[in-house]
């Protein structure tokens, strides 16, 4: 398990370095996804399976979809008339594949060795987390819902296409 922790940490750091050095935004999203998976396996080793699941579902699932959507909308990574699809070149996908294979090997190792059933002395199960969250932390949950509502309204307001204002400006000029 200690080995898995250090291996996942290395994968997370390498993929994060790749995120901040990529030119193409889609490649960066790919590496960021790998980084989130690696951090999820760190959470699992640290005895936080609920946090690991949430990391994958929300970070790797929901937030990454938002990034992909905005990249699609803005057309950030337009390639300049190159007919050859960029993803055919192995340099593009070999990096993420190697990092993901390391993580997959860890998962297979943990499942095959059956260590996960014997793991937790201090594992915090989802039940305990839920009991604490809706006990002493109830106010924080309410505040989080208010925050998410504010985020929803803010994103709606900022993301709308204000045709009225654009027309006004066009008329004024």
């Amino acid at each position: 398990m200690t080995t898995i922790f250090y291996l996942s940490t290395i994968v997370a750091i390498v993929s994060t370095v790749m995120v901040i050095t990529r030119k193409n935004a889609v490649h960066a999203v790919l590496y960021l996804l790998v980084s989130f998976f690696a951090v999820a396996s760190i959470f699992f080793v640290l005895g936080a399976p609920f946090a690991a699941a949430l990391e994958i579902i929300i970070y790797a699932g929901a937030i990454m979809v938002l990034f992909v959507f905005i990249i699609m909308l803005l057309n950030v990574s337009r390639y300049s008339g190159d007919p050859d699809p960029e993803w055919l070149r192995p340099t593009v996908w070999v990096g993420p594949v190697v990092l993901v294979v390391i993580l997959a090997a860890q998962m297979v190792y943990v499942i095959v060795m059956g260590e996960w059933s014997a793991t937790p002395l201090v594992e915090k199960t989802p039940k305990e987390v839920g009991m604490a969250m809706f006990g002493p932390y109830l106010i924080a949950v309410e505040l989080a819902s208010v925050l998410l509502f504010a985020g929803l309204l803010g994103a709606y307001h900022l993301g709308r296409r204000d045709d009225a204002a654009t027309e006004e400006r066009a008329e004024g000029s």
Binding site: I13, S35, F43, I70, E128, A150, G154
Partner: protein
Amino acid sequence: MIASVPLEHSLLAAAVLFALGLVGVLVRRNTVFVLMSIEIMLNAAGLAFVAAGARWGQPDGQIMFILILSMAAAEVSVGLALAFQFYRHFKSLDLDAGRTMRDWHV
């Protein structure tokens, strides 16, 4: 088995990830990359919370991680909407294009 990972090492990993995110915010000028780096930093903060929670065997660390997660979700939706508006106003994702507030009339 879990205790065999010292707290210092997981905090060190969180610190390295946070530093990488900070470097990304400082170095990159593309709005989408800056938002990704902010996500990396929030994730590293969550990692520090979970590691501390695991060290003392309390669920509080995971709860703080969940709160950070919801905050990150709200932040990224507003941030990407802002990036969308930014692109529509300046026809570019270069953050330096928005350096002056002169051309910014929403």
